[in-house]
Symmetry: C2
Subunit: 123 residues, 2 copies
DNA sequence: TTATTTATTCTACATTTGTAGAACAAACTC
DNA sequence: GAGTTTGTTCTACAAATGTAGAATAAATAA
């Protein structure tokens, strides 16, 4: 469940797209594109560590995630809060809203998301 | 400005404490404690990469951070949002409030933090 | 059906990360 | 002042990471 920086980037593309072939992946990289074998290595490592599965079609494979982006980032954010924000989600939230320089509109929309969450807790 | 996992942990201690000597650092690690030289290596690497400074006292040094915890995590969170949450802080916030399982009280307190931020934007 | 393209595996190698021994010097203990 | 402790530098080494060549096999284009 732990990904390196380049693996994370590759996973993100597959998470967004749902499934992907080598071909699709290569397309997303800007020039100078990495060697095909570089991507192949990453895909193999991700498969070995249980992050990706695949379905074979002829000489190529359709890769798909074995866990979701939410599951992954949930772990990451929780780790962050636990280890660096005193195990306090509110402390983190407060830090976050200050540091990300949200516009008034974004803050308003965030406020209503939170109001919804509060409502759903009441049920 | 980029720290590895163990470096991050060490920095966090120094951020919390303000400044620290080797001695203080070693104390924080649970048994089995790492070798002194292990910590020394980390301190040297952090010094080399501009994360720590120090003041010499006899044979030892008082280390201090050259940038704050906020600065560091601000970078991290912004990177996270930019690369994995579609450059949308609200998207991230929404994800965050759902995934961290905040209590009603925490949500209420978060709401008031946001209301304060909204107010301060109005000025 | 032969040449070309595409995807995969295997091997390789430099860099970064995690961990620590050897050697040494300053400081503290008797 | 000799022995022990503490902190540093230098060296080392395994594992993880980023990157890719060589070889090969399947698919495709001419």
């Amino acid at each position: 469940m732990n990904l390196s920086a380049t693996e994370e980037q590759l996973m993100n593309f597959i998470w967004e797209k749902g499934t992907a072939f080598m071909k699709d992946i290569l397309e997303t990289y800007p020039e100078p594109k990495p060697a095909t074998t570089t991507i192949a290595t990453l895909l193999k490592r991700l498969t070995d560590k249980g992050a990706l599965g695949f379905k074979t079609y002829g000489n190529s494979r359709e890769y798909f995630p074995l866990y979701s982006k939410s599951e992954y980032f949930s772990g990451k954010v929780n780790h962050l809060i636990k280890n660096f924000f005193n195990d306090s989600p509110s402390q983190f939230a407060s830090f976050f809203t200050k540091e990300t320089n949200l516009s008034k509109e974004q803050l308003e929309s965030l406020k209503s998301i939170i109001e919804d969450q509060i409502k759903s807790k009441k049920l």
